[in-house]
Amino acid sequence: MILNMGPQHPSTHGVLRLKLTIDADTITRVVPYMGYIHRGLEKLAENRRYEQFTPHPDRLDYISAMSWNGLYCQTIEKALDLHLPERVEYIRVICFELQRIANHLMFFAAYTLDLGQTTMFIYPFQEREWILDLFEQISGQRLTYNYFRIGGVSRDVPRDWPEKVSRFLDHMEKRMKVYHNMVEENEIFLARTKGIGVMKREEALRLGMLGPPLRASGACRDVRRDEPYSIYERLDFDIPILEEGDSFARYEIRMLEIYESIKIVRQALTQLPDEKIPDGHDLIKQPVKVPECEVYCRNELPKGEGAFYLISTGERPEGRLATEGGRRPYRLKIKSPAFVNLWFLDPLTRGHHIADIIPINSSLDLIFGEVDR
């Protein structure tokens, strides 16, 4: 039988359509259809100036807008060969890691909700809400922050902000125990997720999985360590690895990453230098003009390795296709981790029950703004 799941289905996390071929209760094939919220961001980028495009990467993965925004700014800075003030780098890393925590909490809430544990939807949201409050205080928005600018941040963090963050981290560590009790000590949860959708290390590497699902399969690949960007070299943190590669491991790896992120933010807060940094008003006065170059910049986003590939032709093409003398990208390719990880839905779900598609789909942590772009 062919069962059509989505695009309006409660557990497809946005607008994903899955065409399931099922044999009684066993899935034999899954064909995902996406593109329902394809907005053509790559084409959009070709028609925007560099500084104009900064709000748009937020809309890629609206659950971790900070990370995408930062990645975009880093790409342009790499092309311009800009060196940022220390304080900006530290603020960015703090924001990246807080965003990672927020993203994983959101993942966690959605995951448990999909398995029917409605209460666990709202518990992580308390902490996520707290992070949103922290971001709201620095950026003025709660979801699509548009906080980073090419060469800096839109405004310096308030004086008491670092202290608020560290208070949040203390709270977060305490709350982790509650999550542990609610989920890992729950045999029904374990029965639903352990051994479901197993992908072992070799296969995951061969097929090219990304991000936390890959690390849950036992491969230690993290851009923060393998190709350090920003100030990650100076910080001391571990990359959590699990061997099992099932839905439960994909959940657990994120919980471990939250602990690591807390560690990173703590260090960054203590090292945060005090200096005057340019704010958005200063930065926007200088038009961004990228010379002829090509840049591939990637980050470890909460959902995996994401990248921008920027082609700038400088002043070259003129006429209708002009890039305003290097003020617009000639081509900006967006590489999204969720797009790659969605591909794994088919190999992971084969041979499982219909009900198992829910934990597998959720454990990949997909977001369709990013898949469809």
């Binding site: 909700l113 029917g116 544990q117 729950n186 639903r192 029950h353 009900a355």
Partner: protein
């Protein structure tokens, strides 16, 4: 003095008791039924509010507040009722409209009939039927075929899968439920719920001798009423809304209401069978006996809601495995132990046939 006598006395007061006996019975039972169903209906409506409010508290939310804000939104069920009544009643184009329309009504009817056998207190009952518990389960088990018909009639793959799941689940959980009751029935040598409850006077609750039976019954109850963690037939993240996906408006309301009727009646039956019925301090006062039954029933409903607040959903194969491999053997074990239990607890004052 029970409800029948009260109504009879009332009729005497207004001098309508000169009618021949069968006609008088018809009138009395009609009035009795109306009173009983009104009370039960209000209680079930209250159950929906109780569940939403309790769940909200566990989840750190407020729950309904806007209708009767002073009383925590207790009139919300009636607001919902009006909302459902004014909603558009959609019959899908390709659905088989006659069974589609019939099922919600039949579903609620079968449940309302079971109320006949369930006493809500030592005076508030329609009639004392000698086959009480069997009658209740006979009507409860009309649900799987009705669900199958509904799932088929809606002409939707999700409803069909939901209906299959519902049927499989209910059929496999009726077995342990009925087997778990055998112990209680053997101890009182009666199928009547009124007699079973009456046998638990002086705090001789059957939950103590029939511990195993009570546990099996309660787990089975959660599965029978399709609550989390066993709400697979309507697992909203998998099957949208399970076997009643296409229902809307009044029909959906009937299904929704019948779910809560089942939960409420199931909990009441559990109390009557295992938790001492209406007996409690001062239960010789009629109002108090009703009060104690309600307190116990809502305590069980609270546990059911709490389970919903704490647990994720199991998978269908795990559910069936639990039913057949754990609950059925346990209830059989319980039946095997009856002679021993009767001898042992008979000595301590529990009802012995």
């Amino acid at each position: 003095m029970n409800l029948y006598d009260m109504i009879l006395a009332l009729l005497q007061y207004v001098h309508i008791n000169r009618l021949p006996q069968p006609w008088l019975d018809v009138i009395v039972y009609a009035i009795e039924g109306a009173i009983f169903f009104t009370i039960a209906g209000i209680l079930v409506a209250f159950t929906t509010w109780f569940e939403r409010k309790t769940l909200a508290r566990i989840q750190l939310r407020y729950g309904p507040v806007y209708v009767a804000p002073r009383f925590g939104g207790i009139l919300q069920p009636f607001a919902d009722l009006f909302k459902f009544l004014v909603k558009e009643d959609i019959v899908p184009k390709n659905a088989d409209s006659i069974p589609f329309t019939l099922v919600p009504f039949l579903l609620l009817t079968t449940l309302i009939i079971t109320m006949v056998a369930i006493p809500l207190s030592d005076w508030l009952y329609v009639t004392n039927i000698s086959t009480g518990i069997l009658l209740v389960y006979a009507f409860f088990s009309t649900m799987p075929p009705l669900v199958m018909v509904a799932g088929w009639a809606q002409n939707n793959k999700y409803t069909m899968i939901g209906a299959f799941r519902a049927a499989a689940q209910m059929v496999s959980y009726e077995v342990p439920i009925l087997l778990s009751v055998v112990g209680v029935v053997a101890m009182t040598s009666s199928f009547s719920l009124y007699d079973i409850a009456s046998a638990q006077k002086n705090y001789r609750w059957f939950v103590i001798p029939q511990m195993l039976g009570a546990i099996v019954f309660l787990i089975g109850l959660v599965a029978e009423t399709e609550r989390l963690p066993f709400d697979l037939p309507e697992a909203e993240t998998e099957l949208v809304a399970g076997w009643h996906t296409e229902y809307s408006g009044v029909k959906f309301m009937l299904i929704y209401f019948s779910e809560y009727v089942r939960a409420f009646l199931g909990s009441a039956i559990a109390v009557l069978l295992f938790f001492g019925g209406w007996y409690g301090p001062f239960s010789h006062i009629p109002v108090m006996s009703f009060f104690w039954l309600m307190v116990k029933t809502y305590a069980i409903i609270f546990v059911i809601v709490w389970l919903r607040g704490a647990l994720p959903r199991v998978r269908i194969d795990q559910l069936l495995r639990l039913g057949w491999k754990v609950l059925v053997p346990l209830s059989l074990l319980n039946i095997l132990a009856i002679p021993l239990v009767v001898r042992l607890f008979g000595a301590w004052g529990w009802a012995v046939p």
